[in-house]
Point group: D2
Chain length 390, copies 4
């Protein structure tokens, strides 16, 4: 109950933010905006919200943007905003995957920090190229693998880092959904249409959309590096052009093993992301739909249910906790934490100050690993499930 809820509210001047994508009818754009607002570190002041100037303007008006700062393309926005004295300091890229690379590159090259939705890019070549750009750029690159922002995920990661789990043996990840159990991309679902279109999504369907989330999360918590994988990748729904289910066996460097299952046709599942990690000393289990709980069991002891904000929560969890235990935080709060971590880094970058080492966010390197994971899944699938190094 001693949580100082106001701690994550802004202290420094707010960050001037632009957005690429996220216009009328988009889903994830609104999520990014709510996440950016929650802790009050950002002012959304510009947008290339849609692919045409007209639509972009209409969407910008809805959001109260200055019409002059509603642009018809990300390139125009990068050029003009970087030329303004009050231009944006950071940009959120919330388009379909295939746009990420070019848009991110445009802003990074202008020294504008990039907060980009996942996966990093639609193919591995672009991913590596973007990493090269990001590594050279003066601006920061933050990838919104938002599940890493959940307090109990932070708690879990800290348990691993502190050795409480002993040596990790097993990392079990799964992300079942059912929203593509029928060919809804053929019957008007805009979300489904682009996510099942190779031109917009990239090589992976379920692997790219949700498998990469599960993989990132397992890696984030366990700290393990993947060595190789074997994947049985499949498309169940007739006519679909990308995979909608994948079973993957994993071997990590150092000897740990794991499995990953992602599915968009597992009837009865909404967003069933779950990570379970077992070590020689203890095991943990976390489920995204019930994110305020973490099961933690030391070998030979009773199971413990660690709650966000509760008695057993560690400092890594407390750092990103807003409200007391028993009052649930959710998906938007976790997403907002990514934005607040980004803000801490961006605000430090203004003056070249050191970033608090407790600040953690997914980077371009995590993004490359995610795309490499998807690519390896697809490759293994084509080789009838043979092992592929990543």
């Amino acid at each position: 109950m001693a949580i100082e809820a106001s701690k994550s509210e802004h202290r420094a001047a707010k960050i001037r933010l632009g957005m690429v994508g996220g216009g009328q009818g988009a889903f994830i754009g609104a999520v990014h905006r709510m996440a950016a607002r929650l802790d009050d570190h950002y002012d959304l002041v510009a947008g290339a919200l849609s692919s045409t100037a007209e639509k972009s303007l209409a969407s910008g008006r809805d959001l109260g943007l200055d019409p002059e700062r509603c642009y018809g393309s990300f390139q125009e926005m990068a050029d003009k905003e970087s030329a303004r004295p009050d231009g944006i300091e950071a940009v959120s890229i919330v388009t379909p995957n295939h746009v990420h690379f070019a848009a991110a590159k445009a802003f990074l090259e202008k020294g504008i920090h990039v907060i980009c939705d996942k996966p990093l890019t639609s193919n591995l070549e672009d991913a590596k190229a973007l990493k090269a750009v990001a590594d050279k750029a003066k601006a920061l690159f933050i990838l919104t693998h938002n599940y890493t922002g959940y307090p109990m995920v932070r708690h879990a990661r800290e348990l691993v880092r502190s050795g409480e789990l002993g040596d990790i043996r097993l990392v079990q990840m799964e992300y079942p959904q059912d929203w593509l159990a029928e060919p809804v991309e053929q019957t008007g679902s805009k979300q489904a249409a682009w996510r099942t279109d190779p031109a917009q999504s990239g090589v992976g369907g379920s692997t790219g959309d949700i498998g990469t989330h599960a993989y990132n999360l397992g890696s984030f918590i366990s700290g393990l590096e993947l060595d190789e994988l074997a994947a049985d990748v499949h498309t169940f729904v007739e006519g679909r052009r990308l995979d909608d289910n994948a079973h993957v066996m994993l071997r990590f460097k150092g000897g740990a093993k794991g499995m990953l299952w992602c599915s968009q046709v597992a009837t009865g599942n909404e967003n069933g992301l779950k990570v379970r990690i077992y070590g020689t000393k203890a095991g943990i289990e976390w489920t995204q739909a019930d994110p305020n709980y973490l099961w933690f069991t030391r070998l030979g002891e009773p199971k413990q249910l660690i709650t966000r904000g509760g008695a057993g929560a560690n400092s890594a969890a407390a750092r990103v906790t807003r409200i007391p235990s028993g009052h649930p935080e959710g998906y938007l709060e976790a997403f907002a934490t990514i934005y607040s971590e980004a803000a801490a880094a961006i605000q430090a970058a203004r003056t070249g100050a050191a970033v608090d080492p407790a600040v953690v966010y997914p980077t371009v390197d995590d993004g490359v690993k995610g795309v490499a994971f998807v690519t390896a899944c697809i490759e293994s699938g084509k080789k009838n499930g043979g092992w592929v190094k990543v």
Copy 2:
């Protein structure tokens, strides 16, 4: 999955908001600010954040307020803001309970809309007086019984209204916590100190702080009016000046019965608010810590787990849902819904437009009922648990 997440973002001009209380070290003030920001209907522009001008200024600076609009008292703020052409249109009152009455009165009388934390006031006399003021005022009065903003609570309420439960027989409410299991008010907890102080909290301890929440929620969902109650009210912790546990039997008008249990000494409970309602045709169960789920069982049929955003969610739930099923919303989102409902009403009030009849928020009448409930509990307790009409 067809949720249009952006729908609750602002369309009309934002509302200029002030805040009374909620300065450095306060908890609920920060919650109100996050709630006000989430859907982007408000701009916080003024504050009487603390009881002295100096502290108020320091807190205001943290929040980026214009120092000129950081006031030393709510009265000063009411006077000066109402005199400005760009003065606040609404104010959030987030002080300890004993201040609610005078502060709300000051703003209402200036025609400034009031968004006030619960309970309405610290005693029934004030509550009735405030109702008289609010009834006469041109401004709106919104009480932040925030649990009414949860989508599954809205779903449940609609089930009752549509007759799906049949005639209501039973309303079982409970709100156990454990944070006052020891005399922490004697060892430096600021939150505990004012909540256990009759001068600041009013006549009720656990009854006023959390019992009133449970009672409001049960009433909100069931639509029932309480007729009488019998309460065994007790203080377990030695030296504590207000109740920390109450067992209450309830009789509603029309013949339904119920129980309410609130406790601040139930070891192992965080914020265990739960409401169960049973009718002749069906029953429902909802738990605040897991708010995205609603159990719904028709007599003689299998139990159903309705999920927020999921297949079975009705339009009353969908109206206040931001993100897809399986991605949990939490306490702050429910709180934000109160702010967004208030915004809809306030924005309509600007022009005298009719408010969308789907807009729902707790009013001063609900506040009077809540204080009457607490008062009746205390009175019954003093009468050794005899029945008291409310």
Copy 3:
């Protein structure tokens, strides 16, 4: 995993058992027989299974009884079996409540041990009279409050006894069902017919059938003695002659408080027996439908989920555990534990040996308390919920 499953199997000669009631179409008789068989301490050899000699014989044949030992009345069975050298040593009484008293008396007076279903009798006068008989008798009296046989209930009781909970403050009990939500006693349900018939059930409906179970269980675990209660007792279903819902406030000797809710009209509930006990140091929660789990939370520590047979289970639980953790035991096993505890006492009584002090079963005293509880509920109900001493 080190559970020696065979430990509860018989070592001593099996006990010759008779049964009163439990003929064709009865429910609880079959449960008693399965319970008696599970750990192999009994041989069922005689029965007065129905109220007529003919039906009793037919039922006995189904069970493979010697027709000669199928009796037309309990009195006949008591007389004849007590005269046989191989006559029954113990009898199970599984009739409707109103028969318990006379049947138990008949066997106790013949020196035959009685294992009797609850409630003890259909009214308090009989209960006290039966206690007088039992106190004088050389035979034992065991009451099958079967929920006391669950390992996690034993664990919970031991936690209280060992002081792990500190001073008990609160005992919350509930037992909601929905099987009488409609007037099924009027439409052919034999179970419902006798349970809602005052002549067969006694003064209490839901209070006697399930309230008394919840009360017994709360008392068994907490070790507390009830001082007084206030009950709002109600019959929701038109035409029903006994209560189908009761809300009860409880005050225990020593200062603890509690509530008990029992209902047969709570739509969606099957056998929702739940006990929660909160002390100054820790709290526990146990639910009968998920009996292999016990929540245990020390103040200021994470919640623990103790599992039957698992790492945290204490010796009181282990004593009555048959199979390893993760392989659930259920209702019949708990019931069988009552039979096995009874067997230990009966076998000791053969030789006058001391009974292992770890052996625990509900006695006639518990039965009197149970009937007193029901009687007090009804009395309080008639006094409009006024307090009644028990």
Copy 4:
């Protein structure tokens, strides 16, 4: 509540039963005996309970067996019992795996029905040979894959058979434990010793002990035939001679896919057997630790929680249900159902009567499939996870 609990009690003459294995200190033997007793279809009258005549006699005495019918070897028991007019009709084989083949053969060849623990044998050659023996024998062979006896498993199977799930796409199985997370076979655990000894267990460790259970259960419910698998089989604990973890990808005939994970080193898991099956129309999820519940979700409808004995339970479940919903049945009851199904078949075989087509139990064919599964896992593991046809 209309469950006629007595229905599964015996009607026909009880079956004279012998037992091989299950002497003092054994675990599973006691489980089989409880299972055989529960529904009262068997009389245990003979045993070769241990590997020496002396120990067998001591164990038999504990169980009240006639010393003359306590044998020093299964062969002696088969010979002598088959020569007695009152000899055993059936035998339970509850030894370590490597004894199954020879013991089962000995009894089958004498016309004595065999109820045998799983896996069928310790290698595939024996399994096929035993099938040949069983196919020729006049006696029945029942394999105690006990999880198939759970009512909600029967319900699930019937859902698939009736087409409620549509075409099956995915079968996800897992069975994690943690009891072998440390090398307890080196520190005195008798259970661990034989289960990790290739000479007694066979080729598979976790795959044979629990993987085969999960595989059998998934097959039982889904009705699918496995086509091929790819397995990453591993031993985490140093010095262990059999696998203690396996990740398996599965392809079923007809196009369904699946995964199976079994582990004995997954810290915090007791007996975490879980099966999830997803079809084009609906999905189901069942967990052995909470066996009275089945999640069932039709595409686009709310999740349903089907409860054993509850409103939604189908006739396949009701057939094997003993007590009302909300009163949990457990592992022993499911095990007893296998014995009762076997009894129905054995009793029919006495007279050559037709067996009720509703009677279902695992057969020698299921046993061969199970050993083939284990063998294929090990083979795939040796081939670095390449696909192996089964």
